[in-house]
Symmetry: C2
Subunit: 220 residues, 2 copies
DNA sequence: GTTATGCCAAATGTATACATTTAGTCAAGA
DNA sequence: TCTTGACTAAATGTATACATTTGGCATAAC
């Protein structure tokens, strides 16, 4: 694996999981020595992160990790809503019903999985990832997939806000199941509507979590 | 201006306007000497073009300019449709009516402009660009704007197919005017529907032009 | 006391030498 | 004749030295 890929993957993980907090300055010399690569591959990694919108030029002096504000959550969902509705529509038309029927069956066991402690929750996240991959495979559209992947990068950052909200996790599983069943039935408009419902609920829960978090910060 | 920005801008223009045809291999040493920059900034430029989806790794030996097939046109419109409908909806809710009323007035003169020869057509293209910028300003959503800009890069490549189709150009101006009027009226659903109509017509014209072009190529 | 200007230090931007990987070709063996 | 392997040449990947830009601080003038 290339050194620049390693640096990119490491920095990406650290930004998404919050190790590198918003506002952190990433200086080239500092990060290159920390990650054990020279400046050239590091610069390549920083360039990719910049295109991803995860870091921005800070007045010519270093690159800063971008913030994720309440407004950002609203903006991200304004993009997520049309993209995922379109994806649901197209997958309902093109997806292999048997494959999605199998995924639906797994989602019917999601509640039990979520109740099964940390390992079960990890398994549930893994199930969601497999669903995303099945959707991408069925889409067969590199332009749409690229847009979805860029979006998912930012979603991964805000998803941390909902961490630990078991009730919401179970609700989301039920909502997702409705979408998958519409896909199995080959019903694009139902799939789109079910996606709209799911995303509206998801946005609501995320906004509430973000507001609570903001209030806590102010109290500090 | 940075050397890497120059290299990026030059290569981008050449790929979009067809100077660098699909399939062309861009080798680092060759391009760096041609563009008069060293390999380091050139590599940065190539990395950005790769993220844009305009070039791809060709089996480890150089980067090749991507092709734009009929299937690509279909795929691009599967992304364009939901993105621009969402943009139209949001701008109808947020846009400054006076600003868009002024643009509408300009579009009412579009037919005369298009009949005014090459200079008039250039002016019409310029008008479209100002509309796009007004839309981006009104959106005030960096995630959506980023997705739209990435899309427009690919649209610019396929737009060349319609070059010289005066009849289609005039139709497009009329369809665009309907969208703008819906924005001025603050009617999001009408703006979305008008966008759907416009894009369907646009896709149809583009596909026909592409098919004619393909047939000509086969005859050669 | 405040503002403007010039210097300094540290950051990014660039060029280039060197390392490593890879595709293509040629030859030898089955 | 076909396949397999090694060798070679040329490409990309990396490190580092050097150039340039820029932000911050100190000093001086108003």
């Amino acid at each position: 694996m290339k050194a620049s890929d390693n640096a990119y993957a490491t920095l990406l993980t650290e930004i998404v999981d919050g190790t590198l907090e918003p506002g952190t300055i990433l200086a080239e010399v500092e990060q290159s020595s920390r990650l054990g690569v020279s400046r050239t591959p590091l610069r390549e990694a920083l360039g990719r992160l910049r295109k991803d919108g995860l870091i921005v030029r800070q007045s010519g002096r270093g690159l800063a990790v971008t913030d994720v504000s309440i407004d950002d959550i609203l903006a991200i969902y304004e993009l997520r809503q049309p993209l995922e509705q379109q994806a649901a529509r197209l997958v309902a038309l093109r997806g292999n019903p048997a494959l999605f029927a199998a995924l639906a069956e797994e989602f019917r066991g999601a509640e039990a999985l979520i109740d099964g402690g940390p390992a079960g929750i990890r398994a549930y996240y893994d199930l969601n990832e497999r669903l995303d991959r099945a959707i991408e495979d069925a889409l067969d559209n590199r332009y749409l997939i690229t847009a979805l992947k860029a979006l998912h990068l930012h979603l991964a950052r805000i998803r941390r806000l909902n961490r630990g909200n078991i009730v919401r996790l179970k609700q989301a599983a039920v909502e997702t199941l409705v979408i998958i069943e519409a896909i199995v039935d080959g019903d694009p408009e139902l799939a789109a509507s079910a996606t709209q419902v799911h995303l509206r609920q998801s946005q609501k829960a995320t906004l509430e979590a973000a507001k609570i978090r903001n209030n806590k910060k102010e109290l500090q």
